[in-house]
Symmetry: C2
Subunit: 273 residues, 2 copies
Amino acid sequence: MGVAASGRPVTPDVAERVQALARSIWPDGRVRISYHPQCFQEQGHFAGSDEARADALVELANDPAVDALWIARGGWGAARIVDMVLPRLKRAAHGKSYMGYSDAGTLLAALYARGIGRQFHGPMPVDIVREGGEAAVARALRWLVDQDEESLEASVRATDKPVAAFNLTILSHLMGTPWLPDLSGHVLMLEEVGEYVYRIDRALAQVTSSPAVRVAAGIRLGRCSDIPPNDPDFGRDEETVAREWCMRSGIQWLGRADIGHDVANKVVPFGRP
Amino acid sequence: MGVAASGRPVTPDVAERVQALARSIWPDGRVRISYHPQCFQEQGHFAGSDEARADALVELANDPAVDALWIARGGWGAARIVDMVLPRLKRAAHGKSYMGYSDAGTLLAALYARGIGRQFHGPMPVDIVREGGEAAVARALRWLVDQDEESLEASVRATDKPVAAFNLTILSHLMGTPWLPDLSGHVLMLEEVGEYVYRIDRALAQVTSSPAVRVAAGIRLGRCSDIPPNDPDFGRDEETVAREWCMRSGIQWLGRADIGHDVANKVVPFGRP
């Protein structure tokens, strides 16, 4: 397994704790996690320059010895490098799994749109710093290593429809770009963190009014955490606005999804389960 | 002139101060500003329900006695009602001027996309509460009443290209929607307020990677004010990232624009000057 950071960096401590966790689950040592040194670089906000981040991703994606490319952390940065990564991906990149969420969703979207590898919306190494974060990271590892179905978001196991999962703000910023995949017939799962309800409302207004999203089979709303208080009170919560936009747009409301910026975040495979 | 609020409300005090300003400029009383009572309604975040805001806009837009429809304030709300307004606009709506900025940009965009009236990105009644705000409001009034060219953004007077101006976040949320106008050959002016540089960067990544924006003649960056400090320091300012995205996308960088969330905000007519 190879780890690169498309957005913000992680510390070596994160790498060591994830290694230790993997060794405790698979004491036979068959799970090898290789952190590209780029993960620990810092350049202002980012884990190294655009070139460094793109090069690390391309190197690991094109390495036939790497089965899964795991994004270390989100934060903002994937959309700065996606056009530097895609044209350089070779045959080995197609046989791979890719996992991440939040900002990394841009990369997953672009890979899915081009049919490169299998994409999974799920926990990242950085999640180990959360309280109880080992559970999230173990869930991601158990999926990538053993395809343990316990790691999957429950509704994914119950549908035969293709699925896609995004951070809502990231999907909002994919609209109109060449990185947005064809969402026809998809169950679309959306989660959010740290945004005012008025911004959740605004992003939902955008995505549900878009023809590219109206072709989806329906929307499931993941957890929206750390919502700052609105002044004045917004008068609606995130589920109210999501249901409202589904009704107005004719997109089916399918209920909640068990994903979010937290340790309970489950794995969602892009495409048909 | 009729005033309606597509997003947040204003207080009667704003209306009175703008009336007094208009009377001081045109003592003959020929400028009559009619505030729809909806401007002062409050429903949570909004100036009344979606229906109330849409109804007020439609009523004023369809009133042949109203020459200009002036949006009272931004804040968030126009995209919630644009699809309730457009289908109800009648002949009188086509002969009208529409002015506003920030959140009201969604309405201007949709009207411009459908060729309904003339749209102007410029100060709103609520700007009178800013320090020195009378200058901004007088500039808007002088344009709407007398087509005073001193009110116009300087570069608009020097170009024969069509122009469009937006708040960057609003344009980002127009991407992929049916409300985005054809920007082919346009000088695109973008301003921002209250967003981290990483978010400005993220929104610019989106809009400049979109084929719908790459057809523009070029980008001019307005003022980006009240930028919260990034932690860690982002290492680039708003002009650096705008220039960078122009270079990467092949969109021409045309320099700065004299627009922004401030009292110096000039008037930008949509389309050909």
